[in-house]
Amino acid sequence: MNWNSLQKIDIRVWYVLLVLSLFIPLLKPLGLPLSISKDAKTVYDTVEAIKPGSVVIVSPSYSPGTEAEMWPQHAAIVQHLIRKKAKIIQVSLDLSSVMYAERAWKTYGPQNNLKYGEDHVIMPYKAGLDVVIAAMGRDLKALYTEDYYGTSCASLPLMQSISGIKDVALVIDFMPGNTLVDYLRQIESVYHIPVTGGVTGVCIPTMMPYVQSGQCRGLLGGMRGGAEYELLINSPGAAIGGMDAQSLSHVLVIVAIVLGNIGYLASRQKGGGGK
């Protein structure tokens, strides 16, 4: 057999296999096992520890490109917070993330008999990322004078019940960028308010130093993080459904790497100096 040919398989073959590996498990789930990581359990325990009526800032800082990884985390945590009877203020640091804040409210608010303004408030998008987070800490009420729907915050019972960031029990951010680190710098380290959240898979290494130091109370990583949280709150959703597809696609990438390397080593042995 010409082993060298293994590194010359037409790339279109791999693309077709990738599409199949993603679609087949979505149509026919494989039911692969999923263990709960320590970091996801820490996030769950942090949310579980808050008292009923506590005010929690939920900050979806993601855009449609990372929705597949971030929305399941966001949806699962909002469900958990509602079960814990927490009062939720959603703030948006990305131009399009306010749409996800509204989606979370519309999906889980009314069906749990929550009242907008009393149990849940959505703030409008503010540009500036860490500048906004710092301003949130200095004077939350001065930063947000109107909610997303244009209602004066002074007329919303939830906003009347707090004087500023010190009345917030927990901050939860969902980031594909750097906002969770900004919350740690501007809110956790200055006002000592617990901060936790979720990130995309590629951001996990960025966050691990903060998780290990205890500054960030656990972490949900990528779609797996969302799936673990769905298991923890016993509410299967999009992330658990997507994990099998992710499993097969990972296996396909590994197979591609192995075959490519067999071909490479064979060509090197022949003295061809594979590229």
């Binding site: 096992p33 990581s37 710092a134």
Partner: protein
Amino acid sequence: MVLTQLPIFVTMFVGIVVLLDFWIKQDGLILLSRELMNWGVIISAFATGLGGANLLRIHMKKLQAQKRDAFYSIVLLTALIGYTLIGVLLRSTHPWYVYIFNNALQPLSATVFSFNAFFMLSAAYRAFKVRTAQATVLLVSAILVMLGSVGIGEVIYAGMPAVKSWIQNVGTTAGFRGVTIGTALGAIGLSLRVILGIERTQFGGSGTGGGD
């Protein structure tokens, strides 16, 4: 003279006030610092608008020049102006705005991001080779982390998530911690240079104001 020196003094003043507010709890200073922070948010919003205006300018020029790909500029300008008008005139809570977001922006963004899967597969197949000992370590680590991140890894070996966690928590984090501390020290140094007026490149100049 005033035009070059004034921004430096404004930067210095704002930087020192916001910095002092962390250490000195004085009512006047706190109020001033809060006000400056809110100005920061307004300036950030203005910068976003400036980005939009710049995009508009570039594509208008392309249209005027009637280049081959001018069609794409028409699409961009229509989307940019149209969606902005809907957002400004009807507000972003209006059903039209939400409909366009859910049925155009969201699927298009997700599609573009999904291309990464194909690029990564292609790159892994073509470039991820055991050329050196370091490349081999990288390759083995990558395979273990990939397997540990998904359910099938647990089917192959029950301890796979623990192996993945070890690689991430020990190996990767050690490196990232160094990078994080280094970056933070660099940020402190750069901030001090900006506050003291030594660093002036943010004003569009060519370099420093001396001192290095």
